[in-house]
Symmetry: C2
Subunit: 176 residues, 2 copies
DNA sequence: AGACACTTAAAACCATCGTTTTACATGCGT
DNA sequence: ACGCATGTAAAACGATGGTTTTAAGTGTCT
């Protein structure tokens, strides 16, 4: 599956920077240095390619969020942005472009968001010493909000979100 | 400009539900019940049409946010979602689809986000009795975060964001 | 050597893209 | 009745869309 990985890497870049619909197959084959025949043999269709890209991105993103504490969490988010750019969440953008009309894509998106939610719940639990679903949701809002705002204001906005998250955690700690 | 308004209303709906790139001119002319000639005479191009749609949406959205207090603010957001659906911010989606390659579209998006930021700043000022830029930013995160999360979880998530916003306001009040 | 799996380039497929053009029908002020 | 702006329908424009097919070139295993 070496060739598959190479294809996904090249294709992910184009989908991310140009959008799913706006990127034609010719550019995908050219960038991945592979014939369209091979591409279709491996992924079946353009949407099949997109789901493969999203699956790979899901794994890569969550690996980056394998940290302890909300400070490290938002630092990791900012790191991601500085490496990958601030074009917003690729999953939500893809959902918008396909309009939920493709079942495979929709499923990958839901799975990713559920995994992200769980990851944030774990981080919150370590921070405050107990599960706190409401707090985890609030951190999730800050996380998604920072991702959205960074689109037009850059990665710097993440530190504001991190500060807000720290305050929320502090208030929720059982001490005091 | 009666016909222009009718065109924008029909076109906005299609762009919003199907995406900018994925929606062809034939569908736009058909839905707005207008010839392509008229459409091009009024808006010049497809991207010109998109900028007109975004301008109209900017005005309509901000008119809905002409409220007092963060509770009313998030209530207004939830109302908007129940009427218009939860497909995320059309401005950010359009930014993602065009990749910042169109200057006109980019300008409208920036103007809208700046206006939204100011609106939230005013609401915060009324709530706490003074300007508080950091607090306004945090409310903005919650606002954008709720918009993003509602895409895959529905309008109900807004009440969680509203609760979080209320807590932030309460902590920032000058009293005791 | 021969079979097999896998790749390639290139053309063909039909559909649709955004845009412009041609030719014709209105309504309105004067 | 005239000119003029404004509308229509429909075809044409060249380009590109996603997908499949054809024909030929690899290397590897037995």
């Amino acid at each position: 599956m070496d060739i598959g990985i190479r294809i996904i890497a090249a294709v992910e870049r184009l989908f991310d920077t140009n959008g799913f619909v706006a990127t034609g197959m010719d550019r995908l084959t050219q960038a991945s240095d592979v014939s369209s025949r091979t591409l279709y043999k491996h992924f079946g269709s353009k949407t099949g390619l997109m789901t493969a890209v999203l699956s790979a991105r899901d794994a890569r993103f969550l690996r980056r969020l394998d940290v302890r504490g909300v400070v490290a969490l938002f630092d990791a988010l900012e790191d991601w942005m500085r490496v990958e750019g601030t074009r917003g969440c690729l999953f939500l953008r893809t959902a918008g472009e396909t309009g939920g009309r493709d079942a495979g894509i929709t499923a990958v998106i839901y799975a990713h968001k559920k995994a992200l939610h769980r990851r944030l719940g774990e981080i919150v639990e370590v921070e405050v010493g107990r599960t706190d679903e409401d707090l985890a949701e609030q951190i999730l809002f800050l996380f998604e909000g920072a991702t959205a705002e960074a689109i037009y204001r850059g990665p710097e906005v993440v530190s504001t979100a991190r500060t807000a998250a720290e305050a929320l955690i502090r208030d929720a700690r059982p001490s005091a």
